[in-house]
């Protein structure tokens, strides 16, 4: 269970102050597939970074399974990331110096799990459909294969939450479909997923959809791929509509 309450993130430079995420509230129930849709620069990746504990909110609170991660120490939040969160990046993010199988095993270095992680990794490779590439190096894989390996890696520690940041951004339409089907399958098997995308075609995959624009977020009922994402317009009356 994830609870996000009043989360704000402000980036400050010498001459600029950017409110990337502005007073966001939402909750994610276990087993859901949350899709956060928004244009580039809308703040969705920043929100994801905070959910993963890679960024600290300027204001507000993020609870994962009841633990407020906003003020945890680096060691504690790293431990939580290792145990509870799997990450799939827009780029594959595979380490170039280790094989596919070893890439999947890398997160096990940070999580004290029982032995047998190699067997688990082989099972995951089979699950994502690249079991024949276990000993290959990432540079020999196609984009789709890389993404599948990245998903397997994100799942190796059995996280309660899978975070995906534009995971199909660099894929062709066919591969994008395959990867999204894989996400859907994982979700149906019980994995909670929070994914951000700027591609409206992916909206139907979410069981719950949110829109982000200029740091604000609103829930979008339904799953229309023609959703118009302008927070404040749908849920709140515009000033001109006010009596």
């Amino acid at each position: 269970m994830i609870e996000v309450s009043g989360v704000t993130k402000t980036f400050r430079t010498d001459c600029l102050e950017i409110q990337a995420v502005d007073d966001v509230h939402f909750a994610v129930q276990p087993g859901k597939f949350i899709l956060i849709f928004g244009r580039s620069g809308s703040g969705k990746s920043t929100l994801l970074g905070m959910l993963a504990g890679l960024l600290r909110p300027t204001k507000g609170e993020i609870r994962i399974n009841g633990v407020d991660i906003s003020n945890l120490s680096d060691d504690k939040i790293s431990e939580l990331r290792a145990k509870e969160i799997g990450f799939v990046f827009q780029f594959s993010g595979l380490l170039p110096t280790v094989t596919v199988l070893e890439n999947i095993l890398v997160p096990t270095l940070f999580c004290k799990k029982s032995p047998g992680s190699r067997l688990r990794a082989l099972e995951l490779l089979k699950k994502v459909g690249v079991s024949d590439r276990a000993d290959a190096y990432p540079c020999t894989l196609s984009s789709g294969e890389m993404k599948r390996v990245a998903i397997a890696r994100a799942l190796i520690n059995g996280p309660s939450l899978l975070i995906a940041d534009e995971p199909t951004g660099d894929l062709d339409v066919d591969t994008e479909y395959e990867i999204m089907e894989l996400f859907r399958q994982l979700n149906r098997e019980g994995t909670t997923i929070v994914m951000v995308t700027h591609n409206p075609d992916l909206i139907p995959y979410g069981t719950q959809t949110y829109c982000m624009e200029r740091g604000k977020m609103v829930e979008k009922p339904g799953s229309s791929s023609f959703i118009k994402c302008e927070p404040g317009l749908d849920n709140h009356p515009k000033p001109k509509d006010l009596p």
Binding site: S45, G49, A52, L54, L55, D74, D75, S78, E79, L80, R81, A82, K83, F87, F89, Q90, F91, G93, L95, P96, T97, V98, E102, L105, V106, P107, T108, L109, F110, C111, P115, G116, S117, R118, L119, Y137, R153, N157
Partner: protein, 401 residues
């Protein structure tokens, strides 16, 4: 069936090192140069020191008295064994044994031989008075059963001949009865015989040798002096020079100074090279590490995203750096030790230094020190890059694409 092994910390390090060959080979090479330079300079110094200790101990003297005008030649005979013939202009050396504080005085005659079948070059013949000698007599005492008799010689370790065989100098046949242990000094290239045999050899040389040898009767080349226990060699040396005009004294510490002077240029170069390599390598390796840190920022951030703590990142980066330092250190030490051992005679002759291979313990200590220096430099060079990478935001690095 046993379960396949899991992925461990050292697997990641090994993969990172093995699969970035070009950069890592360059870094290993830098560490190898540092370790080799450091090890070589200390190996040569230690070898010279050991040789000197061994050589002086072999001579058994506190003071070597030579004719004033031949002090340089006297030192050369002792240190490098460059053959030389010289004599006191009078027989005043007899006074030396009567000087207060002199326990023993042993005269020696130095003869530069002609080409002999044993040797590629003339050797230094040293004639001793068995009655008064304490250089060879000490060795003879350690080797009971060997007696220096008529036409017998004891040879230095660098003279190629077996015990029981003969060697000919100035047409005179000598019988080898013993070989001295290696000292790395002039003694190794010397042949020891008795006064009487040297005089006979000189007498016969007019007929038997291509060149006549002349040894002035009653004159010697040098006097080795051992002082009374508790007496300062410096005081006795001063007394000798005062009471016996035309003499020059060479003392153990004087020999050390002479060797240091001889070694000075070489060791200065080696130490300077060692220091320069160290000074240059730290920023150079630091720069490589910073470049690597920038290049690997994203990779490290991915590890952080999967739960790596900052301390894990620190351990990973230092472990990789130390591994490269250790590999480079071993290669540098191994290569330089091999080269120094194979070419030690060439080095000794070229540098004109007394040299004997240091003891295994000394080599281990020097190798260990060189390895520690490499590791230390590896650690120092990694501090800033590690600081840089742990301070950077993993989110920013990941978003950096």
């Amino acid at each position: 069936m046993s379960k396949p092994p899991d992925f461990r910390f050292f697997n990641l390090i090994a993969r990172n090192l093995a699969n970035r060959p070009y950069r890592n080979i360059a870094t290993v090479f830098a560490f190898a140069i540092i370790a080799a330079t450091f090890f070589s300079s200390h190996y040569l110094m230690s070898g010279a020191q050991q040789s000197l200790d061994s050589g002086i101990s072999r001579m058994g003297a506190d003071i070597l008295v030579v004719p004033e005008e031949y002090s340089g030649a006297g030192q050369t005979v002792i240190l490098s064994g460059t053959p030389s013939s010289f004599f006191f202009s009078d027989s005043g050396f007899e006074k030396i044994s009567r000087i207060h504080g002199v326990a023993k005085a042993s005269p020696q005659i130095y003869i530069a031989t002609l080409f002999a079948s044993c040797c590629a070059a003339p050797v230094q013949m040293i004639a001793i008075d068995p009655e008064r000698d304490f250089t060879i007599s000490t060795w003879l005492k350690e080797n009971p059963g060997i007696i220096l008799e008529k036409d017998d010689i004891i040879i230095g370790s660098a003279i190629i001949q077996d015990v029981g065989k003969d060697l000919m100098f100035y047409g005179h046949n000598f019988h080898v009865i013993g070989i001295l242990e290696q000292t790395g000094m002039g003694v190794d290239n010397a042949v020891f015989t008795r006064f009487e045999d040297a005089y006979v050899m000189a007498d016969e040389s007019g007929e038997k040798a291509v060149k006549k040898l002349t040894i002035p009767q009653g004159k010697v080349s040098a006097v080795l002096v051992k002082v009374d226990p508790g007496t300062s060699p410096a005081v006795v040396a001063n007394e000798i020079m005062t009471q016996v005009p035309g003499t020059k004294v060479i003392m153990s510490n004087g020999l050390l100074n002479a060797v240091s002077g001889q070694l000075g240029a070489t060791t200065r170069i080696l130490y300077f090279a060692s220091l320069a390599v160290t000074i240059v390598s730290i920023p150079l390796l630091g720069l490589i590490s910073i470049m690597v840190a920038h290049e690997r920022k994203k990779e490290i951030s991915i590890l952080r995203a999967f739960g790596a703590t900052k301390s894990f990142v620190v351990r990973l980066m230092f472990a990789e750096s130390f591994s490269l330092a250790i590999i480079g250190g071993f290669i540098g030490i191994g290569a330089s030790a091999g080269i120094l051992m194979i070419y030690q005679d060439f080095i000794r002759i070229t540098l004109k230094i007394p040299f004997i291979m240091p003891s295994p313990t000394a080599i281990l200590v020097q190798g260990g020190s060189a390895l520690l220096l490499s590791i230390l430099i590896g650690g120092i060079a990694s501090i800033y890059p590690v600081f840089l990478i742990t301070r950077s935001s993993p989110y920013e690095a990941i978003r950096g694409g």
